[in-house]
């Protein structure tokens, strides 16, 4: 499969997913009044007023918080996964991370709000803590499930640690890194909104909270559409990078 084909399939899948959501929303909106579930058309007409100039700083703050939390989770989670693999502690890491994952986001959010207060750090910490287990578990498991016969070949050929990392461990990690980026970004987006919902005076989550309190469902749906579009754009972007530069690590490419 060529790089372009791989990329276009990814774009098509993303757009298909969005289109299916849109259709489901449209169909459901036929069964509910507009003040409970407005139709896509109603939301589109209301969008210029909802997503006005005042909305942009909120969106920018949300993106910054999400990216900082996500990068923290990605870095720390990858380091933890690698460390667990090196120290033969993958199973222990899995148990610990699963336990961390079980804590409901809302409860963790309230704890973080009490500890960190209202502001940037509650949503950032929430994103980092809720995304980290997925990243760490995936990295540790990808390394544990590397191709042992290839490792044996490299060792028999006299390869040192550097060669093992370059020819075996990194290639084994690349598909996992992509799925971590994909899953982590989606999860991070969801969690940052929750974090802002609980403990912020600004950001998309805060706007959603205000709109929800007022039962302003047109604004709620408009904000959700923005979240969906941002996630889709990121997904297409990361797919472009992996398709262009790293296709050979997805075999068959």
């Amino acid at each position: 499969m060529s790089r372009l084909t791989r990329f276009s399939i990814s774009v098509r899948n993303n757009l298909t997913g969005l289109a299916l959501l849109l259709v489901a929303w449209l169909v459901l909106s036929l069964f509910f009044p507009g003040y409970i579930l407005p139709s896509p058309g109603q939301v589109l007409r209301a969008s210029p007023a909802v997503l006005d100039v005042a909305f942009v700083p909120h969106l920018w703050l949300t993106l910054q918080r999400m990216l900082i939390g996500f990068l923290l989770a990605f870095g720390a989670g990858s380091a933890l996964g690698i460390l667990a693999f090196i120290l033969h502690l993958t199973e222990h890491l899995n148990s610990f991370m699963v336990a961390l994952q079980v804590i409901p986001g809302a409860i963790l959010g309230i704890i973080l709000l009490l500890v960190l207060g209202v502001g940037d750090w509650t949503p950032i910490a929430l994103v980092a803590l809720l995304t980290l287990p997925t990243v760490a578990i995936n990295i540790a498991n990808a390394l544990a499930k590397r191709d042992l016969s290839l490792e044996q070949y490299l060792l028999s050929a006299g390869a040192g640690r550097r060669r093992l990392v370059r020819h075996l461990y990194l290639p084994a990690l690349i598909p996992t890194i992509q799925s971590n980026l994909s899953l982590g970004f989606g999860l991070g987006m969801k969690v940052v909104v929750l974090g802002e919902f609980i403990g912020s005076q600004d950001g998309l989550g805060y706007l959603l909270n205000v709109a929800a309190i007022r039962f302003d469902m047109q604004s709620v749906m408009a904000y959700l559409c923005v979240v969906l579009i941002i996630s889709a754009v990121f997904e297409i972007g990361q797919s472009l990078v992996f398709s262009l530069f790293l296709t050979k690590y997805f075999y068959p490419p």
Binding site: S149, L154, L155, A157, Y251, P253
Partner: protein
């Protein structure tokens, strides 16, 4: 050990640890050794076949000699400057092309890619019928083609000792003969430890045969590889 010996194996014994029982304990049955008090020598330039039934521990022996398995009794001494191993399965790197796979051992050992080596590589491609496939990835090749790539990878760095664990298993007779002829033509003085249970391959490639009749590597008889009929009779009737 004689100074011109390539490989000397002395009183090598290998036991696998007893399998754990479903309740977590260990089986009370003592595990019989898969290799028992094995000693043999391959002189420099010697080509030896190790012919034994399936499950006799041939691959285990290769694992020990390549340093992959370090839990054994006895000892061995390998004096090769540039040894290579060709495994039963091709073990090609799926993200590398044929060419990248073949030159990998040279990169690992920091052997410069000289024009002579490139010429050798080209010749190997011709012999294996893979000239048009150098940019292909392993998933685009058949099982036999992958095995040919593994064979090329084993020989292209000009090794002085090669351990081959049933390397021709997925090759047709014509390819097998062409490759063996090429090995002997390009590497007339190479030392080989050739592991197989396909008798017809023995006289094509090696000079002597260590014949094991039981399903473990213990007692053996030594034969001249060219006397296929004798080996066959011995293998059948003991």
């Amino acid at each position: 050990m004689m100074p011109d010996d390539m490989l000397t194996v002395e009183h090598l014994t290998k036991r696998f640890r007893a399998a754990e029982t479903p309740l977590g304990g260990h089986s009370s049955m003592p595990e019989p050794p898969v290799i028992e008090d094995l000693s043999f020598t391959i002189p420099r330039g010697g080509r030896v076949t190790l012919f034994a039934p399936t499950g006799a521990g041939k691959t285990t022996l290769i694992d020990i000699l390549t340093g992959l398995d370090r839990t054994y009794e006895g000892s061995f001494r390998l004096t090769a400057r540039n040894p290579a191993t060709i495994f039963q399965e091709p073990r090609l790197f799926p993200h590398m092309t044929v060419e990248e796979n073949v030159i990998l051992p040279a990169q690992i050992r920091r052997i410069p890619l000289t024009p002579a080596m490139c010429e050798k590589y080209e010749r190997w491609l011709e012999v294996c019928g893979l000239t048009a496939y150098t940019r292909y990835f392993p998933y685009q090749l058949s099982g036999g083609m992958k095995q040919k790539v593994a064979l090329m990878r084993g020989f292209v760095t000009d090794p002085d000792f090669v351990m081959m664990d049933e390397p021709f298993k997925s090759l047709d007779l014509h390819s097998k003969q062409a490759i063996i002829r090429h090995i002997l033509e390009v590497h007339p003085n190479i030392s080989l430890l050739f592991v197989t249970h396909a008798l017809e391959e023995v006289p094509l490639l090696t000079q002597s045969v260590l014949l094991f009749k039981t399903n473990r590597l213990a007692n053996y008889t030594t034969h001249d590889a060219s006397r296929l009929d004798t080996i066959l009779m011995e293998a059948i009737h003991g």
